[in-house]
Amino acid sequence: MSVSEVEETIKRITGHKGVIGLIVVNSEGIPIKTTLDNSTTVQYAGLLHHLTAKARSVVRDIDPQNDLTFLRIRSKKHEIMVAPDKEYLLIVIQSSDSNLAH
C-alpha cells in the first residue's frame, strides 16, 4: 500500500457522514494525529489506550492465538470505534444519531 492510499482512506473517513473526529495514537498512548482539539484528544487517547489494552488482554488470555480486531463502544450520543494495530491505535468517533447517517 502506498502512502497516498492510506492518507486517502483517512481523508474519506474523516469526511464521512456523522464522523466527528479521528485520532491516531501510538503504542505509548501519545496521540500522533488528530482532527479534534487538544484537550479532547488527550483525554480520548489516554482513556481508550488503557481500555484497549485491557480488552486485548481479555481476548488473548482466553485464547492466546486469538487477537482483538476492533472495539466498539456505543453510547447515546456517539459511537467510539477503535481499530488496534501492533504499534498504533486508530480511534474514530461517529455520531450515534441515525438521522444523521444515510
Binding site: S2, R12, I13, V19, P64, D85, E87, Y88, L90, V92
Partner: protein, 709 residues
C-alpha cells in the same frame, strides 16, 4: 603398668612395650612447698576423701602412638631411571624441648651434680660480687645466700611497643538511582515471546538456506543520502502511515456499517411478509453504489467473485461505436458502499470481465479494441508491480465475452473469448504470457442468396456476441451471434458445428446454460423476447415476449427454474417457471432517473442479492423477496430435507419442459442423431442421466404418438 615408689618419693614408671613415656625427674627431693589452703573452709560441693586418698598421687601420662618404621624403602626415580633407596629418616619426633634446670636422673650430669653438689653451690656464691651477696642461715641451719639486686647494678630492661592509634576512614558514594518497575505477566505475553522466538529461529534457518536478501516494499520517497532531516522525518512518518493501512480499512468499513446500518439489517433479516399472501415477489433495494465512483461510464459487465462472497467487479466503458472512451475495471465490496476496493484504468473501454474460480486473484478482461488481458489483483496494491498480462495478438473487433475454462491438458489456466470478428480464441496463461490458439471460426454454410444457382452454398462468418460453456459436458458451448443465431459447438471437434438455432431476429445479447440442468439454455435478444431452449430440440420450448429490448438475462444460482431479465425500459422481470409458467413473478422498475438504460444484471452466488448496472454507471443492489427464492411449491416440505439439491433442481425443470414438450409436440424436432454422434466421451454421470432421459423420452414419444393416434 607398674607403679613404684622408692625411698626418695620419686615416682617413675617402667617402660612397657613400645610405649615411650616422658618421665619428669626431679633433681633432688625437696620438701614439698605445697601451698597450704587447709585453713580455708572447703566448698560445699567438694568431694570428701579419706586422708589416705588425699595423699594419693595421681599421675598424668602422655602417650604417643608410635608409627611403624619403614626401613629400606625404595622409590623409582625418573631422573635416574632406576630404583633408588630413600635415605633413612630418623623417625623420632621431638615433642617437647624444654630447656630448664632439670637433669635427667640417669644422665651423667645428674650423677656429677649429685656428687659435687656442695661445691657447685659454693662456686655459685663466688660468681657474684660479695658486696651484693647476702648470707643467711635458714631454719634448718644451713648456709644460704641470696643476691641483692639494686637498681644501679642491675637493670631491668623493659620494652614496650608503641600502641597504635586507630583512625577511622569512611567513604560514602551517591546512592544508585532507583527506578520503580512493575509489569503484569499474562498468558498471551508468554505466547508472544514464544512466537517471536520461533519466527527468529525460522528466519535464521531460511537465511541459511537461501542467500537472497529480503526485499523491502519500495517507497515512493527513495533513499538518497543527501536528504535533509525534514525529509527523513517525513519518510518515517510515511512509513508509519503505511502500517496503519489495515486499521484504516477496518475503521472505514465500520463507519460504513454504522451509516448504512438499516440497509445491513434489511439485507440480513428483511423478508417481505406480504409475500406469504401473494404469489408475486418484489425486490428490495439495498446498497447503491454512486456513479461518481464509476465516473459516469456505462457499465458493460458485472462479475461476482467466486471465492469472496462480498466482492464483485464491474467493467465500465461505452457501447457507443463512435465515441471511443477509456474504460476501467472497478471492484466493490458490499461491506463498503462508499468506496471501491480496487480500480484499474484501461485505455480502451472494457467490455467483459470474468473472475477465475480457482485462483481468486486472477481477473480476465476483454476490451473494445479486441485485446484481452489478465489482471492479478494481489499485485495492484504493490507499487511498481506488473499486474497486467496483456496479449500480443488480439481480435480485430470488440471482445464481447470472456470465460475461464478448467485447466487444460498441460494444467495451464486458460480462457476463451468471443468477438465480433467471428472468432473464438482460446488463451493460455503460460509463464506470465498469454498464448492464443484459435478455437473456432463462426462459419455457417448457408444458401447463397446472391447466387442464381439453387442450392449453392456459401460460408458466411457470423459475428459472435455472447457465449457460454457447458460445465457438465465441458466440450459443448454455445455462441450467440449478431444476427440472432445460436451456434452449438463442440470443442473436441473444432470447426464442427453441431447445431444452428434460428433463435432471434435481432442480435442476441445474452445466452446462458441452466445452472443445474445442462441441456437447457436461455437466450435474450433485442427483439423483445426471451427464449428457453433444450439443445436437443430445434425450436424453443418457452418464449416470453417482453416490453422492450432485453439487454441481459441470467439464471439464478440457487434454482433451476428462476431467471431474471433486464429490459432497456428500466424493468427487471423475474420469472420462476416452476411456480408460474406464463407470468413473471416480479416486474419492477428499478430506474432511478428516467432515460437511463439498464445494461447488466448479476445474481450473487452466495446471497439472495442482485446487482444491476445501468448506462450511467450507477449500481444498485436488490434483495430478492422470499417468493422469488422459493425452491418448491409446497412450502411445508422443509427445503433442508432435500438431500440432493442438484437432482431435485434437475427434475424440477425437466418435468416442466417435458410437460411443454408434451403439450406442443409439433415444436419437437430432435437433433439427437447429430448430438449422439458428436459426443466422443460422455461422463458416466451424464451417461446415467442421458440414459434416464432417453428412456423417458422414449416414453413421451410413445405417448405423443399415442395421443396423436
Amino acid at each position: 603398668m607398674e607403679k613404684y615408689t622408692n625411698k626418695n618419693n620419686m615416682i617413675y614408671k617402667k617402660l612397657v612395650g613400645n610405649r615411650k613415656k616422658i618421665i619428669l625427674v626431679k633433681g633432688e627431693p625437696k620438701e614439698k612447698n605445697v601451698l597450704d589452703f587447709s585453713h580455708l573452709p572447703p566448698p560445699p560441693d567438694q568431694v570428701q576423701l579419706k586422708p589416705d586418698d588425699l595423699k594419693e598421687e595421681i599421675a598424668r601420662i602422655l602417650t604417643i602412638i608410635k608409627h611403624p618404621e619403614n626401613y629400606e624403602t625404595v622409590v623409582y626415580s625418573y631422573k635416574e631411571k632406576k630404583w633408588v633407596e630413600i635415605p633413612y629418616v630418623n623417625q623420632s619426633h621431638i615433642y617437647l624441648n624444654f630447656v630448664g634446670n632439670y637433669y635427667f636422673k640417669d644422665s651423667e650430669d645428674a650423677r656429677i651434680y649429685s656428687l659435687n653438689k656442695k661445691e657447685y653451690d659454693e662456686k655459685k656464691r663466688f660468681f657474684y660480687d660479695p658486696r651484693i651477696v647476702d648470707d643467711y642461715v635458714d631454719e634448718n641451719n644451713e648456709k644460704k645466700f641470696r643476691v641483692l639486686k639494686n637498681k644501679f647494678n642491675f637493670i631491668d630492661r623493659t620494652v614496650q611497643t608503641k600502641s597504635k592509634s586507630y583512625k577511622e576512614v569512611e567513604c560514602q558514594t551517591d546512592p544508585a538511582q532507583n527506578v520503580n518497575f512493575s509489569d503484569g505477566i499474562t498468558q498471551f505475553s508468554l505466547f508472544n515471546i514464544y512466537e517471536e522466538d520461533f519466527k527468529s529461529k525460522a528466519s535464521l534457518k531460511q537465511r541459511k538456506n537461501t542467500a537472497k536478501p529480503v526485499k523491502n516494499i519500495p517507497l515512493k520517497l527513495s533513499d538518497s543520502k543527501q536528504k535533509s532531516q525534514q525529509a527523513i522525518a517525513q519518510e518515517q512518518k510515511a512509513q508509519e502511515m503505511i502500517r496503519m493501512n489495515k486499521s484504516a480499512k477496518v475503521i472505514e468499513r465500520m463507519i460504513n456499517q454504522n451509516s448504512f446500518n438499516e440497509i445491513i439489517l434489511d439485507y440480513k433479516f428483511w423478508d417481505d411478509n406480504a409475500d406469504s399472501f401473494r404469489k408475486e415477489g418484489s425486490l428490495l433495494p439495498l446498497w447503491k453504489f454512486p456513479n461518481s465512483l464509476t465516473k459516469r461510464k456505462c457499465i458493460t459487465a458485472i462479475s461476482w467473485s467466486k471465492n469472496y462472497n462480498d466482492l464483485f467487479a464491474v467493467a465500465t466503458g461505452s457501447y457507443n461505436f463512435f465515441k471511443k472512451t477509456t474504460g476501467s475495471i472497478i471492484g466493490f465490496s458490499l461491506k463498503n458502499p462508499s468506496f471501491h476496493e480496487f480500480r484499474i484504468e484501461t485505455t480502451t473501454s472494457c467490455m467483459t470481465i470474468d473472475f477465475n474460480p480457482r485462483i481468486p486473484n486472477l481477473l480476465a478482461a476483454g476490451f473494445y479494441d479486441g485485446s484481452v488481458c489478465i489482471y492479478d489483483l494481489k499485485l495492484i496494491s504493490i507499487p511498481n508491480a506488473l499486474y497486467c498480462f496483456k496479449s500480443e495478438t488480439k481480435h480485430y473487433d470488440p471482445v464481447w465475452q470472456v470465460q475461464w475454462q478448467m485447466p487444460n491438458v498441460e494444467d495451464l489456466e486458460n480462457f476463451n473469448s468471443v468477438s465480433a470478428d467471428c472468432k473464438i480464441i482460446n488463451w493460455e496463461l503460460k509463464k506470465n504470457h498469454l498464448f492464443a490458439t484459435e478455437l473456432t471460426q463462426l462459419n455457417i454454410q448457408e444458401n447463397d442468396p446472391n447466387s442464381k444457382v439453387e442450392g449453392s452454398h456459401k460460408i458466411i462468418a457470423h459475428a459472435g456476441t455472447c457465449m457460454d460453456f457447458n460445465t457438465q459436458n465441458e466440450d459443448l458451448f454455445l455462441v450467440g451471434t449478431e444476427d440472432g443465431k445460436v451456434l452449438e459447438y463442440s470443442s473436441l471437434h473444432r470447426d464442427k458445428l453441431l447445431t444452428i438455432f434460428d433463435a432471434h431476429s435481432q442480435p442476441i445479447y445474452s445466452i446462458k446454460w441452466n445452472t443445474f440442468y445442462k441441456r437447457v439454455f436461455i437466450t435474450c435478444s433485442a427483439d423483445f423476447s426471451v427464449k428457453i431452449w433444450d439443445h436437443r430440440y430445434k425450436n424453443p420450448l418457452l418464449t416470453y415476449e417482453l416490453s422492450a429490448p432485453v439487454s441481459d438475462v441470467q439464471w439464478a444460482p440457487y434454482s433451476s427454474t428462476v431467471f431474471a431479465a433486464l429490459t432497456l425500459d428500466g424493468n427487471i422481470h423475474i420469472f420462476d417457471i416452476y411456480l408460474d409458467l406464463e407470468k413473471p413473478l416480479c416486474v419492477q422498475n428499478v430506474l432511478l432517473k428516467k432515460k437511463r438504460r439498464l445494461t447488466h444484471v448479476c445474481f450473487s452466488p452466495f446471497f439472495p442479492i442482485l446487482v444491476i448496472g445501468d448506462e450511467k454507471g450507477t449500481l444498485t443492489s436488490f434483495k430478492l423477496s422470499p417468493n422469488l427464492r422459493s425452491i418448491q411449491k409446497d412450502t411445508t416440505i422443509n427445503a433442508i430435507s432435500i438431500l440432493n439439491k442438484e437432482k431435485f433442481e434437475q427434475d424440477k425443470i425437466r418435468n416442466i419442459l417435458l410437460q411443454e414438450a408434451e403439450l406442443n409436440p409439433e415444436l419437437v424436432e430432435t437433433n439427437r442423431k447429430a448430438y449422439k454422434f458428436e459426443i466422443a466421451k460422455p461422463k458416466k454421470k451424464a451417461e446415467a442421466v442421458q440414459d434416464d432421459d432417453e428412456q423417458e423420452e422414449k416414453k413421451t414419444d410413445k405417448n405423443i404418438r399415442g395421443n396423436r393416434k
